[in-house]
Amino acid sequence: VTRLQCPFCGPRELREFQFHKTLPTGPGGSAYERTYERVADAERSLEHWQHVGGCRAWLHVERNPSTGAVLAVVLLGGMRP
């Protein structure tokens, strides 16, 4: 990944973004399981990023860590560009 498609700003270099966390790919689970017992999926990673060097939007990024391909970037929480 060297670029992410910010829904507000368009394609931007990765250095403008800050990684926040990965999310569990499976459903549900207790808080403990969601926080500590995540299993990394080699093909699918759900992540939260913030465009701190730009519009400060929070983004939900779906990525394939094996290939580096970005599968989807959407705004977190129903904001509309």
Partner: protein, 989 residues
Amino acid sequence: VKPPPPRQGCRLDAQPLQFSFDGRSYPGLAGDTAASALLANGVRLMGRSVKYRRRRGLLAAGPEEPNALFTVGARPDAIPNVSAPLLQLRDGLEFRSQNRWPTLGFDLASALQAGGGLFGAGFYYKTFIWPSWRWYETPIRHLAGLGEAPGRCDLPPPVLEHCSCDVVVAGAGAAGLAAALAAARAGAKVILCEREPACGGELEYEAALVGGVPARAWVRAALAELAALGARVLTHTTLVAESSGELLAHGEPGGLAGMNTLHYIRPRAFVIAMGAIECPIAFRDNDRPGVMLLNAAERYLARYGARCGQELVLFANNDRAYPAAQRLLAGGMRVRAIVDTRAADAAGAPAAALRDELRRAGVECLAAHAVLAAEGSTAVRGARVAPLADPAAARQIACDTILVSGGWAPALHAGLREGGSAEFQAGLGAFIASAQPAGRASAGAANGHLELAQVLRDGHEAGVRAARAAGAPGTPGAAPDGRGDGEPRLAPFARSPAPERWEKHQFIDLQNDVTVADLRTALAEGFLDIEHLKRYTTLGVGTEQGRTGGLLGAAILAELRSEALPGIGLSRTRPPYHPLTMRSIAGFRAGAAVKVARRTPLHEWHEAHGGVLDPMDLWLRPRYYRANGASASTAAVVEARQVRAHGGIADGSTLGKLEVAGPDAAAFLDYLYLNRASTIKPGRARYMVNLREDGCVLDDGLVLRLGAERFIATVSSSHGPHMLAHFEHYRATEFAGRRLTVTDVTEAWVAIVVAGPQSRAALERVLGAAWRDTLGTLGHMGFADGDCHGAGLRLLRASFSGELAFELHCRPASAVQLWQELCDAGLAPYGLDAVDILRVEKGYLVSSEINGETTPFDLGLDALAHAGNPCLGRELLDRPAFHEPQRPRLVGLRAADGRAAFLGGAQLTVPGELRRPCGYVTSSVYSPTLGEWLGLALVARSIDLEARLVARDPLRGGDVAVRVVPPVHFDPDGTRMKAQPASQGSATT
């Protein structure tokens, strides 16, 4: 200085210049490189090897040069490890050789080694272990390493350029030009990078025909056509790295070392046409000055008119030696012999015809022979030559230069990134890149083609494919036809026969002094894989990255393991593919651009009044004021005493302030904080604590309720940006769609802390009659808004010192005046160190205690945790691990004798178990109020109050006996902080 012999080369013009090498002045010509000018001046010795300090001369004519690395410029701004063939001369340039002391001609370390033989692989690991490596480290480090790091960096910041295009072609030789032409004709936007100052590669000087015209004319025409088609040609620019489709090209315009331009290029397609590097052959003492690659000798002659020597012996495993010998003869050198490792009938017809011609010209042409050794102790004096069938029948051929051609290694590095792999090509005896990701391809010699017509065709086809991948619709035209030296018909030959005792003189990697003996040692010790071998022997590390020695090492490893070369493979090279200065890598990310300094509106006042400003996170904050003492420790004690006795003011503007507003603001803060914000009354503030998802304490601060739907949350100074992102994250996730806003108002408000018993009286004088009633009635944690000097002012009564204290939140424009009036009213400023003393006396928390590992229970915030607010992190607070007896608890510490000093960071143990800590000191200060050292500590819950512990600090203070006390050392009931004015007496809560 003698005038140089007249020279003619395609790069030179007649403009003379002077340069200095190792303090001696030499003449050169404009267009020379350091390597060509030294060679033309007859200088052979250009460096010492890194480990054995052996004398070394030029081996190559490009960035692969392993020996001639120079330090350019004068200390302390010198740039080390500049490859001599890349260093463009300019008048007055100064550079020096490396790895020698005291001089290049006499090196003490090599003299010391002369008796002991050569240190092989693993020598250090095995030898310097008794009594300890530390005994040897300093002298060895003095000798080790490549070049010398500069004392400072005074290089100009690199110019950065981000660009995108359809096709990038790296390398403007025959293949690169053909590729760029094809792509540009098809309509693609092309960028062509060439590391040399001129384009053409070997076509620049080769007597070849392309498209029926002389090669140089074709190159000129091709460049003109590229320019007409809008292609961009970057000379002096090398492709240094590639990452996920972004290429990094490094340019030194004008060839000036250190004057850098970095191009970040995003192409749709990428053609690697960076050529192939000739391989050496290992024979005894093949590292002597005077042993050079054949192609390098030709380049020096043709480009710079510099002769590599006078009496030459050529040693090759391919046909190229014969046309090369003819050109070297024409250049005025004498070719004594051509030693061909192949049988007489292996040469192709043109080469065989040339061979007969050369024989008639007096060149001895030997087939199925090898050079066993280079003769001569400081430089080549002869070649020891023998038939391969009978190495014992060796004889010497006098010469001053041995030119070697052992095959070619295609430039692989860029082709092995991200999905590329190496594939063996039997005809070439070398590896090429394969399995490239879409849009990337190698072409020409980099793709294993060595005959000009094939190179041009391969380049053209790569350009066609690249243009198609980039979506260019046009027609690329036909591939140019070329006629140059024929197929080399090489027969792999890696090293000459040698008795095993010679193997430590058969060099493979000259830059790292790796010999055949080292490979044998590594194999004997189990380092079988090429990557393990690389780590153990250092084969292919350094600036050279295995460009000359990598393939040779793999071939010899295959021989020693009795295996086939394809199964051995090459070790992976790492970027940058070409050395560049750290300054270039840093780019604009240097100095203030990396770490901005944030200043409060009172910054100039602090500076003008003796404030000593220290960075804390990004903020510059006054640590103490010089008027109170010469050092932080003495001044802070004076300042803290003043606050308790009388009063003082401090700059608290750095405190982060986030304004949260909207109908859902209260619910939002309830979610983010352990205790509730929704129950705060307007006009009141509350001490609040945030948790992380995992239940650990993230931050603490006051939350002020301005109105029903409006709050200001204060966060730690160093946490401001992080807490803003934290708030924004939960606004975008858990509170998505809810009605609230989060605004960072940190810089909209200056905070002046006014603390001490006299604070109220001083404020009455400064703020005037309008504020008198408010000051009298405002209770602890209450605040009021109003005006002062015509600007908004918020008066908050809160304390981080344990004294009666207020915070004035005012606008930046009125801050200095207000601050100065408070000073005039008799309140002296105090710095951060005094703040620290005051808060430790009161057991208040900072990041030493809220360190990311502590829970609310650890920090004595149980009451907040038990309030039961279902907030972020709440669920995980109940896990058993947070309630085990080993969990820490915040306590106070004092020295057992009431006098001794102990410092933050000291480990705490029970007296009987000095080797097992039960906690550590988080903060410690000398308290002027209590007259002794006080500390805060996190110790296991199983340790009781009044327990005797040992604070162990072996590196600073030794052991100090301490006792555990409650964390609030001073005024535990808070009577000072909650004091009401004498006139009023009634408490306002």
